[in-house]
């Protein structure tokens, strides 16, 4: 299962694809069972140059009956920094946030599909 994520151009916020819209909460992200559909959608997202920066697919897993990004890095993007729990999306609280916080056992820092690191 995959989701499609990016950072919004105007403010840099981590956002997720849902039916052509970009939403800030991971629980609202559209999930793709079919890899081919996911890739086509990624291509479509990449053409939205004035809306988002650098869209990419991520792997998702189940946590507490809800979905969570597989990678720890992506969970931090979906939550906010662990040193300032009052900042970022995690401040909103809710079951979906708790599920992301409790997700474990998965890869922690990689998991982004086709990740290339540049500095």
């Amino acid at each position: 299962m995959k989701a499609l994520t990016a950072n919004r151009l105007a403010d840099g916020e981590a956002v997720f694809w849902n039916q052509g819209q970009w939403v800030p909460r991971f629980k609202d992200a559209q999930l793709f069972e079919d890899a081919a559909v996911a890739e086509t959608t990624e291509g479509e997202a990449k053409s939205q140059q004035t809306v988002v920066v650098d869209p990419y697919l991520i792997d998702v897993i189940q946590s507490e009956g809800l979905w969570a990004p597989l990678s720890f890095r992506e969970r931090i993007r979906a939550l906010g920094p662990s040193n300032h729990p009052q900042h970022g999306k995690q401040a909103l609280g809710g079951d979906d946030i708790a599920a992301l916080q409790h997700a474990h056992g998965a890869a922690r820092s990689t998991g982004r599909v086709n990740l290339i690191k540049r500095k």
Partner: protein, 551 residues
């Protein structure tokens, strides 16, 4: 404190207006992200995990109250009400919106600040000894030279597209508080035989994937030739640096592959060809810059009765004096450290409210001056001894008086995976956990000087290679793991740390630190710091302690 002249002002204003237009064009879709990214990076604007990050240059780590208040206001208005000081003595704001960035640059320009060349393959913000102008052990105020380099290097057309980023640090003191040996160019002022001042020029230091300490290519360069000699170094690097391979593009790799001697020879040949007059600073300009760095000290008694009285009745204040207050060149004054290392909080983070407190203290008690050091703390450089009790009380009330400078809880940590798009693992929670374990000030004082430095990836922004204990976050089969190194130093006795053993999972790191501290306390001989004991005993006893029960 250097004040912009009309040329500086017009230059920064032009640049800000240019960036405003570039942002508008990007938002309107007239330029692509690929075209825009290098432009925003040249203005210090990164895109990270949660938002844009703006890295604001603090040239040679010097601030005044007006600048810090402006930073506080920007952090409150455009960010989440806090900022993060880095090992490069810059300030990072981690929650910036692209559409606000031009406005922020305009506000910065009002207080003679900018974010140019805090990123990109350029000559980055120049750093200097944070004790500059306040310490008795310096030959000159290194900021005069650092400011000259700032003016010369900012948007220098020949050096705006170097093979890779380029960092210069300057000191004029025997004690190296500017980590000059881990810089692309480290400049350390020396006095020549005839009394003339010059620089020892070190080249090719740097951490990251292939760490090196700088090599001296010239023992003594008369100060007046500084800029022409830097130009010669940059030219050789610009010509031969490895543009084909990002991992080999830093000058350290060129210096290592040619050998320092051959590299130095090429620089000398380049320098011999150049018209020095054209590049070197005229005496009049040097005098203009120098005039901005001449604080007026009062004639005071070297002993303060008020301070002695306060010390006698207050153990916490006495401890603060031992660790956070340092001798000044002017009798009756002291340098006072502002600790951004409260155990349990994020190293280098400071709230807008705290910035305002420190700005007020600088204005009232420190000749309107402030410094940032690479340990991610602040310094009030010119405090009268009589005023130290009042400064301590105000800092303590704001949570900025932890008496832990250079102790085990004074930990350097980069932003790591909590913010940074390049990270492999988190750095901040590791620092928080260790500092909390050693939060007892009596215990920390017993352990004494121990510098822990943590990076969230091999880029080494947290200087882990030169920590007495270095901690590097690595990705091991998708889990956060931490590699420990021992025996590094970034000071005049610089050395690169030695690997302790296999990487440890996050929840074992603090225990390992504690085990190594126990070994040190057991093994240490009179007056030895952790580093000294390690250098005498080698890695074996530490390794045994940490890995003993792993089998």
């Amino acid at each position: 404190m250097y004040r912009y002249d009309n040329i500086d002002k017009a230059f920064v204003a032009d640049r800000t207006a240019e960036f405003r237009e570039q942002v508008e064009r990007r938002l309107a879709g007239e330029i692509t992200e690929d075209q825009f990214k290098p432009i925003r990076l040249l203005n210090g604007l990164y895109l990270q995990l949660h938002a844009y990050m703006l890295r604001i240059a603090i040239p040679y780590g010097t601030l005044n109250a007006a600048k810090l208040r402006k930073l506080a206001w920007i952090a409150k208005t455009y960010d989440q009400g806090y900022g993060h000081f880095t090992t490069r003595t810059n300030l990072q704001l981690h929650w910036i919106k692209l559409r606000d960035a031009p406005q922020i640059l305009e506000h910065l320009a009002e207080v003679e600040m900018h974010s140019m060349q805090t990123s990109g393959n350029t000559i980055r913000n120049v750093t200097a000894d944070p004790y500059a102008g306040a310490t008795a052990d310096e030959l000159d105020d290194p900021r005069v030279w650092a400011e000259a380099i700032r003016q010369w290097s900012t948007l220098h057309p020949e050096f705006s597209f170097l093979p890779r980023k380029f960092k210069i640090a300057v000191t004029a003191a025997a004690k190296d508080r500017a980590a000059t040996k881990i810089y692309d160019i480290g400049l350390a002022m020396r006095r020549g035989r005839n009394g003339e001042l010059g620089f020892e020029v070190m080249v090719g230091g740097g951490l990251g994937r292939t760490p090196y300490l700088g090599s001296t290519i010239r023992e003594f360069l008369p100060t007046r030739h500084l800029l022409s000699y830097l130009e010669a170094i940059l030219r050789v690097y610009n010509r031969y640096g490895r543009r084909d391979n990002i991992w080999k593009a830093r000058i350290k790799v060129l210096v290592a592959s040619l050998g320092a001697e051959e590299f130095g020879r090429q620089v000398e040949a380049e320098w011999a060809k150049a018209d020095h007059e054209r590049t070197d600073l005229p005496d009049t300009e040097l005098a203009r810059i120098r005039a901005e760095f001449t604080p007026q000290f009062e004639t005071l008694s070297p002993r303060s009765e008020a301070l002695e009285r306060a010390k006698a009745g207050d153990a916490a204040f006495a401890r603060f004096l031992r660790h956070n207050v340092h001798p000044h060149k002017a009798p009756g004054y002291a340098l006072v450290d502002v600790s951004l290392k409260t155990p349990g909080l994020t190293p280098g983070d400071i709230t807008s409210e705290q910035m305002n407190v420190v700005a007020d203290l600088a204005e009232r008690f420190s000749l309107d001056e402030l410094r940032v050091n690479y340990n991610q703390n602040l310094i009030l450089p010119h405090v009268k001894l009589d005023d130290v009790p009042a400064v301590h009380a105000a800092l303590a009330a704001a949570g900025l008086a932890t008496p832990n400078m250079d102790l085990i809880s004074d930990i350097i940590a980069c932003p790591g995976l909590d913010y940074c798009a390049l990270a492999n693992a988190r750095a901040i929670p590791i620092a928080q956990h260790i500092a909390e374990r050693f939060a007892d000030p009596v215990r920390a004082e017993q352990v004494g000087e121990l510098k822990i430095k943590i990076s969230g990836c091999i880029n080494a922004c947290g200087h882990h290679h030169v920590g007495h204990i270095g901690i590097l976050g690595v990705d091991k089969k998708g889990e956060e793991f931490y590699q420990l190194t021992l025996g590094g130093s970034g000071e005049e006795d610089a050395s690169l740390g030695q690997m302790l053993g296999p990487a440890l999972p996050a929840d074992k790191v603090t225990d390992a630190i504690e085990q190594m501290v126990e070994v040190y306390l057991r093994e240490r001989k009179d007056g030895e710091r952790f580093l000294d004991t390690f250098r005498r005993t080698g890695v074996t006893p530490f390794k045994e302690a940490v890995y003993a029960d792993a089998h």
